[in-house]
């Protein structure tokens, strides 16, 4: 039964998911409100598994998921509420943009009149009007992604799930795509999964950081930045000291100018071995700090595990 409090949010409680013996989701709990929600994490963190579980493409092993008041077990109803853009997708290459949208609209049970209206509106919105009669195989990567968004919005879903949509796009196309998602998120829940921190920083009000199937952190971008404040330092180093610093600290940025390299490093307190100044953290710094704080491995650039900050 629908609950009016839950209509504009996704509630996930203690969800576990397995691939054979490997646990892909570990006791995941969170509430996703209306607007843009970013899921950030490394490859293999469990983002795609969580999104597929929300889209009823994977049955969860345990826990509860309630999407806008509907339990995820009501597959038929959930399918009508979800718009999904998978990480790797395409469409029938021989179909035109219009034909492929019309076909998927048919599968969503839309009448011809509604399909025609929505195809026209969405192709305008995603700037594919001129490609309406172009075959899918002739579209560029960015156009295909925009077509992907159009197909996901075709049936006007309450929830839009997009899995790493900006991977492989050039910067201009990426910005355009992010803006499009922000626009769409004004009237629905949009879950954006990515490992590109900049996308989340620029577009998402709320974020969650995942690693090895667990939610490490949940809050706003501002809160994440606050969390890392006072832990980020910058220092100018001679080249011969670079290896030592890389071995001892997590380096989040390096700019080389002549013999001097300016590094950004993470540390709990101001490092004593080098002349470092505290700086304002950016989102990448904060993300890395979050991973470190939760004991994540392989964070140092030389590949040594663990170690002090």
């Amino acid at each position: 039964m629908k609950n009016s409090d839950n209509r504009n949010q996704i509630r996930i409680s203690h969800v576990n998911q397995f691939y054979g013996k490997k646990q892909a989701l570990r006791d995941v709990s969170m509430v996703i409100p209306q607007g843009m929600f970013g899921l950030l994490g490394r490859n293999g963190a469990g983002k795609t598994t969580l999104m597929k579980t929300l889209a009823a493409l994977h049955a969860k092993q345990s826990g509860e998921i309630n999407i806008c008041g509907v339990p995820v077990e009501n597959v038929r109803e959930i399918r009508g509420m979800i718009g999904y853009l998978p990480q790797e997708f395409s469409m029938y290459p021989a179909m035109t943009v219009r034909e492929s949208l019309d076909y998927l609209g048919c599968l969503s049970g839309l009448s011809k009149k509604v399909r025609d209206e929505r195809i026209e509106m969405l192709t305008y919105k995603v700037n594919l009007e001129e490609q309406m009669y172009t075959k899918v195989k002739k579209l560029s990567g960015g156009m295909k992604r925009r077509l992907g968004i159009a197909q996901a919005l075709l049936h006007d879903p309450a929830v839009l799930i997009v899995d790493e949509p900006t991977a492989g796009l050039d910067p201009e196309e990426r910005i355009r795509f992010r803006n499009l998602l922000c626009e769409v998120a004004q009237e629905r829940i949009v879950i954006l999964s990515t490992h590109i921190v900049g996308d989340v920083e620029a577009a998402c009000g709320q974020i969650a950081i995942m690693n090895e199937g667990e939610v490490l952190w949940r809050g706003t971008v501002e809160e994440l930045l606050d969390h890392a404040r006072g832990k980020v330092f910058t220092a100018d180093l001679e080249s011969d000291r670079l290896a030592q610093v890389k071995a001892e600290f997590i380096v989040t940025g390096m700019v080389k100018q002549g013999n001097v390299t300016t590094v950004r490093i993470l540390a709990e307190t101001k490092p004593e071995i080098i002349a470092a100044e505290a700086v304002e953290p950016n989102c990448e710094d904060a993300y890395m700090y979050c991973l470190y704080q939760n004991g994540c491995e392989n964070l140092k650039t030389d590949g040594n595990r663990g170690g002090m900050l």
């Binding site: 691939y19 997708f89 469409m91 599968l107 049970g109």
Partner: protein, 391 residues
């Protein structure tokens, strides 16, 4: 309905479908069309060496011929059998060899040492036809089934007798009779086209069923509101109807040519069409359904491989004419005549075709279940290990 048209358009536009239609067309033009160049000529009394042969259950001919065949194979210690439609040479173990010797002794009335005198002596005087059939059945069991002495092959192998002029004339008249001529040509048409339908549809099915995967459309479709039953049934129906198109065109052309052969006769096209539908549709349904199901379960390759094996076994499993069984996928009738022989096997024909139609529908139900299960994420895929470093 809209989805049906879209799926049909997708099917007709696929390369595999075009190849399927072209292959059926080649089969039709190369095999059937030459048969419709002219009506067969009536037998001419006294001017022909042979009027052909006819299968007749005459115990006086059947028993000595079959016993001689069994004796011959016993003496050479090697028996020919086709247990699954494929040739197999069988050698009996000592215990079975002794039992076979006892069977032959009862059949011939001769001991093993006297067996060479069979030609002069003939079969046992006390042997009844019923007992003969029982002993032959046991001999077939000892060989492992599918031997020349099985119930199915006995008549075929040892009871073909030459036709008389009168019999040949009667068969000819029946073949070209106004009521039967369209059916006679339809049987031949179905025989040729049935060979193609036993294998060709699987390529179209496997290709189309894998199109979603190849085009990376699977997940886009899985999350749509449409039910799996509606989607699969619509796709199957569209595929099936499209694959019917080349058959409808070639059959219409075939009947047009038959009509031209007999301009003075009223041709019973509707009956002929009914026969073609009964003959070919269940085969097309079955091959399409099994191809789609196996492609969905595994991949197109096993679907094509298994269908290829099935087709090959079916082609080799039966005689070219008058050998309809309840189970064979391909029904052969590679002659314009022998209408009476075909009529005599109507019950087997109908059971065979009904069985395949039901089996095809069951396969489609299984396909729906498998597809829905996949949509919900089961069986669990093995996830690739992804390492990944951030810096």
């Amino acid at each position: 309905m809209m989805l049906f048209w879209k799926e049909s358009k997708k099917t007709i536009g696929s390369l595999m479908f075009l190849l399927y239609a072209a292959a059926l067309l080649v089969l039709y033009i190369s095999q059937f069309v030459p048969e419709t160049a002219a009506l067969p000529t009536p037998p001419r009394q006294g001017e022909e060496e042979s009027y052909g042969s006819i299968k007749k259950e005459v115990p006086e001919i059947l028993m000595p011929a079959a016993i001689e065949g069994l004796l011959c194979e016993y003496q050479s210690e090697s028996y020919t059998a086709y247990p699954y439609g494929f040739y197999k040479s069988v050698r009996l173990k000592e215990k079975e060899r002794l039992e076979m010797a006892a069977i032959l002794e009862e059949l011939t009335g001769l001991t093993e040492a006297e067996a060479d005198r069979f030609k002069e002596h003939g079969i046992s005087e006390t042997l009844s036809y019923e007992r003969f059939k029982e002993l032959m059945n046991r001999a077939d069991e000892l060989i492992g089934g599918g031997s020349n002495y099985s119930e199915r092959y006995l008549l075929q192998n040892f009871c073909m007798i030459p036709m008389t002029y009168e019999e040949a004339l009667a068969e000819y008249e029946e073949t070209v009779d106004e009521k039967n001529v369209a059916e006679s040509y339809t049987r031949l048409y179905c025989d040729y086209m049935g060979i193609g339908l036993g294998i060709l549809p699987v390529f179209v099915c496997a290709g189309l069923w894998m199109l979603d995967k190849r085009s990376r459309m699977e997940q886009l479709i899985y999350v749509r509101k449409i039910s799996s039953a509606k989607l699969i049934l619509t796709r199957y129906l569209a595929l099936f109807c499209c694959m019917m198109l080349p058959l409808i065109v070639t059959f219409a052309h075939a009947m047009y040519r038959v009509g031209r052969l007999c301009p003075e006769k009223e041709i019973f096209f509707v009956r002929a069409f009914g026969l073609a539908v009964l003959w070919l549709l269940p085969e097309l349904m079955m091959v399409s359904a099994s191809g789609a199901l196996i492609s969905e379960l595994w991949s197109p390759f096993p679907a094509i491989l298994l269908q290829g094996i099935w087709w090959y076994a079916s082609v080799g499993a039966n005689e070219l004419t008058g050998d309809i069984t309840k189970t064979t996928l391909l029904i052969r009738h590679n002659t314009l005549g022998a209408g009476a022989l075909f009529q005599s096997q109507t019950a087997d024909f109908l059971q065979n075709r009904a069985g395949y139609a039901v089996l095809a529908l069951l396969s489609v139900v299984c396909l729906i279940v498998v597809y829905e299960n996949k949509r919900k994420g089961g069986p669990r895929p093995k996830k690739r290990q992804t390492g990944g470093r951030i810096l």
